[in-house]
């Protein structure tokens, strides 16, 4: 969505036009949901957190200012919702949720199986990352947040954030490399 259209939708939402809210969020909902899912490890809980995020975003629309990118603002709210929730409840054990879109290879069942296995390995690898590395990786990967914004959100220096990103990607690449032989 180009920034002009986005700005129009934001203005409509601020004035109370609920019909603009769906199209505004639709563009970013995959990243938001995926981020929440990777943090909590459970699809149902991720959807609950997503719902809570949407409620907070709608109620707080008038507090959004153009100084910050809308997507970053969304992600900050989602991050805070997730952190508050995870503080109150223990994290579920991982239920590896297979992304069905990846698996659609009707003509090649072997490819489908490979995709399932690879997906499971990647998800397990992400989950096994140290918490701080995982948080930075997810914020960068799904949220496309700048390292400066990630540093502000996680209350860590930028160099530390870069270091987390570097080691988390290296680790995942090593795992994927081993898998691919």
């Amino acid at each position: 969505m180009n920034s002009e259209n986005e700005q129009k939708l934001i203005e409509k939402c601020k004035s109370g036009d609920s019909t603009a809210f769906g199209p505004l969020i639709k563009v970013y909902h995959r990243q938001l949901l995926s981020y929440l899912f990777r943090l909590c490890g459970n699809r149902n809980r991720a959807e609950e957190l997503f719902q809570e995020t949407l409620i907070k975003v709608w109620k707080g629309m008038n507090t959004y200012s153009e100084q910050q990118k809308f997507f970053s603002w969304l992600f900050t709210i989602a991050h805070n919702v997730a952190m508050n929730n995870l503080r109150l409840r223990k994290r579920d054990s991982i239920l590896v949720d297979i992304n069905p879109d990846v698996l659609k290879s009707p003509n090649d069942p072997h490819k489908e199986l490979v995709a399932i296995e690879q997906n499971a390995i990647v998800e397990k690898a992400i989950d096994e990352l140290p918490v701080k590395q995982k948080r930075v990786l997810l914020l960068r990967m799904y949220g496309e947040m700048s390292f400066k914004d990630i540093a502000a959100l996680t209350c860590e220096p930028v160099n530390t954030v870069i270091s987390h990103m570097h080691y988390s990607v290296k680790r995942l690449r090593t795992l994927l490399g081993k898998y691919n032989g």
Partner: protein, 182 residues
């Protein structure tokens, strides 16, 4: 030379993600662009890192089906409005019918009765007044007591000094007689 190149490549590795995000100052971005043009190792490393993240991102992305998404949006936008709607509805409901003024009058009357009963039940006790004759009698008695004490003191003082003077003059007489004998 090889060592210098390795150092530069190591330096690039530490700034690679900032470079990829274009978060370095302009001169630094240009510097690394120049380096990458001549260093296939760093270029490959950068491309592989970015590809890995892209692949992981796409393969792990999840989404909602349209109906679930729309239901969640409806739930979110409903929350803010329903509160206002509820307040408006409750005011309308209260005001409906011919008994609105009757209800208000009854409520006002009830409040008045409660206030009056509270004031009656918790009325402070009146202050007791002392009769004037009693006050006068008390005053006279106190005055007479003071006078008597004063008289006693005077007698005590005058008696005491008279006795002392008499005692001293007796002693003086004795001493004088002794001196005369001597």
């Amino acid at each position: 030379m090889a060592n210098i190149k390795n150092d530069i490549c190591q330096e690039f590795e530490s700034e690679m993600w900032l470079f990829a995000a274009a978060e370095l100052p302009e001169e630094r971005m240009e510097y690394w662009n120049t380096h990458l043009a001549g260093c296939s190792k760093c270029l490959t490393e950068l491309e592989e890192e970015l590809n890995a993240v892209a692949v992981i991102r796409e393969s792990t992305m999840i989404e909602l089906d349209n109906s679930t998404f729309n239901r969640m949006i409806d739930n979110a936008v409903k929350v803010k409005r329903s509160r206002i709607k509820d307040i408006i509805e409750s005011i309308r409901h209260y005001k409906s019918g011919i008994n609105f003024y009757g209800k208000t009058a009854f409520a006002g009357g009830l409040v008045t009765i409660i206030v009056v009963i509270t004031l009656i039940m918790y009325r402070p006790a009146p202050v007791k007044s002392i009769p004037a004759e009693l006050l006068d009698w008390e005053g006279t008695k106190i005055n007479s007591e003071i006078k008597e004490i004063s008289n006693h003191l005077d007698r005590f003082v005058s008696n005491k000094w008279d006795n002392e003077v008499s005692d001293i003059s007796q002693r003086l007489t004795i001493i004088e007689n002794k001196l005369n004998e001597f």
